[in-house]
Symmetry: C2
DNA sequence: TGGTGGATATGCTGATCGCTCATGGAGACC
DNA sequence: GGTCTCCATGAGCGATCAGCATATCCACCA
């Protein structure tokens, strides 16, 4: 029995998605095919590669070892394809960045603009995603850098081996985005009790964080009037007076007219930390350049927030 | 259509053997299968990978580009197999050395012994071969270093791209190995005319060098009494008085009793240079250590030869 | 405690893939 | 010009693989 290229590709995708089923649909196969391929890979390597849990699979030590090498192999082959098909080695470098949704509005575009001026030849590809999906992508080798957001206590985003490198870039305090004409618009700050009864605009709930967008730890049962995942939608709903939502002041530079940000009293505990996360070890030059740009933009945003305080 | 692992493995083997047929039998396939696999690989990559010549194939630019990446990918997978099956990362490093046959008697074993003392954890694997086969192996990534022997003019061992790194280690003058009791044994030197009529022990002839072992450029038709490829055989045939043969004094430390080395007059032109050849670029630490050991042993042998002169 | 939903594993089938055998064609060397 | 070596290709067959449908397992929840 013999390892197969398709098997390794699927392994990488499974490592990234955390689930046979998700990997299958990402690759356009059926779950059955993925299950068989992984079974074949386990037989080929003679090792158990996954711990099967209900809710998904997790790589074993052997699985991580194989993944580490498979990533190298697949990257080499993808480089070969690029070389043969497209531009013959003209590229000055590639970086792959992942980020949490809110970062896509300000930090990431600004960093890209800055990077494009300094290193116009750099090819940066980005991807939005949740913390677990981005972390898996880092470990699967399909991302070089990830911007993650964390809340206290700021634990490492996973407990796998080897531990990820986490570099805090910025801390911001949560605030509420309110309509300019509404009752809270001109207030210096509002109390938790005041906003408890307001109509909220939330993100579609997940199992873990059922009320993303609603102020955390609100007393009573909040009334969620609107549900949207997209920030542009949410902010314009706020501007239209449809409700209020929780946001970080990093969005300030891009809020539409008609939206105000108001701090919340005793907000100290509700801090969100933005960190630059990557696999341990040396970083390629293009990734370093992007990391520098991100640090710079994060510092600029920190200054803005300081002015706010 | 999709690149395949087997296709890449065969590509590497073809690059190393220079021939579909040879690669096929090396891998236990039919020539037909190799031809089809390479056709499929060319279709998958959309590029012509080989220049077909009668007598073999040569990689095109695209072929070299693909090979370069394929070597990386295959090495990663082989590393994965080693990690999963055998010793879990206990190895301190691996080096693969190729050498021309005469080097296997003295230089290589001594360098290995020295290296084993200094770095006992190093895993060195070696392989004997001809210059073209070793050069192809270097380019195919299955060798890290190669000891090659060359005669004047000392051209680069091939003209492919990128050029190989060639570091001369040692120059030795050819001599004849004669039986201790024979007519030439006690002579300070012999002339070409004297040895022209002697019974020779030669290596099985190839197309290019039909008379390896016989003094080059001998007048008339030499009488080849024995044919053997193995040095131990040849030297003991000499010791038995069965004939004489051409050799380099680097073998002196290991000649059996009953064999004398005698220089030949006007030997100046018949110099053989031993070089350490490798792909350009940085060398891994284990390979550097082996290279140092080889340089050291070569220098020691050069001293011995100086004493001889 | 039993139902439900999401996850992986597996028997079966049709189509594809890949290897072998055998043959053909092209060039180099003697 | 013969011969040798090498690569290409048509036909056939055996193994492999993806898909479908289904079974199974487990956590969660009422």
């Amino acid at each position: 029995m013999e390892m197969t290229l398709l098997g390794l590709r699927i392994l990488r995708e499974v490592a990234e998605r955390g689930t046979f089923t998700a990997a299958a649909e990402a690759l356009g196969y059926t779950q059955s095919a993925v299950s068989r391929q992984m079974a074949a890979l386990e037989q080929a390597t003679g090792a158990r590669l996954f711990d099967r849990h209900p809710g998904g699979v997790r790589l074993t030590g052997s699985g991580r070892a194989l993944l580490r090498n498979a990533v190298v192999a697949l990257a080499a082959l993808e480089a070969a394809e690029r070389e043969l098909r497209g531009a013959e080695k003209v590229e000055g470098g590639r970086v792959r960045l992942g980020f949490f949704p809110t970062a896509g509005a300000v930090i990431v575009p600004r960093a890209l603009a800055m990077l494009c001026q300094e290193h116009p030849h750099l090819q940066v590809t980005t991807r939005e995603g949740t913390t677990p999906s981005l972390v898996r992508a880092l470990r699967a080798g399909t991302l070089d850098l990830a911007l993650l957001s964390s809340r206290p206590p700021h634990r490492s985003p996973d407990t796998d081996d080897p531990p990820l490198s986490v570099e805090p870039l910025l801390e911001v305090h949560l605030a509420v985005a309110v309509p300019a004409g509404g009752p809270f618009a001109e207030r210096g700050s509002v109390s938790v009790e005041e906003i408890a009864g307001a109509p909220w605009i939330a993100s579609p709930g997940t199992a873990n964080e059922p009320l993303l967008g609603v102020w955390p730890g609100l007393p009573g049962r909040p009334t969620v009037r609107h549900t949207a995942r997209d920030w542009l939608t949410k902010l314009h709903l706020v501007a239209a007076g449809a409700g209020i939502t929780t946001a970080t002041p990093t969005l300030l530079p891009v809020v539409p007219p008609g939206v105000r940000f108001v701090p919340v009293e005793r907000v100290a505990e509700e801090v969100r930390r933005v960190s630059l996360v990557r696999m341990p070890g040396p970083l390629k030059a293009p990734a370093q350049a992007l990391a520098r740009a991100l640090r710079r933009q994060a510092a600029d945003l920190a200054d803005v927030e300081d002015l706010e305080d």
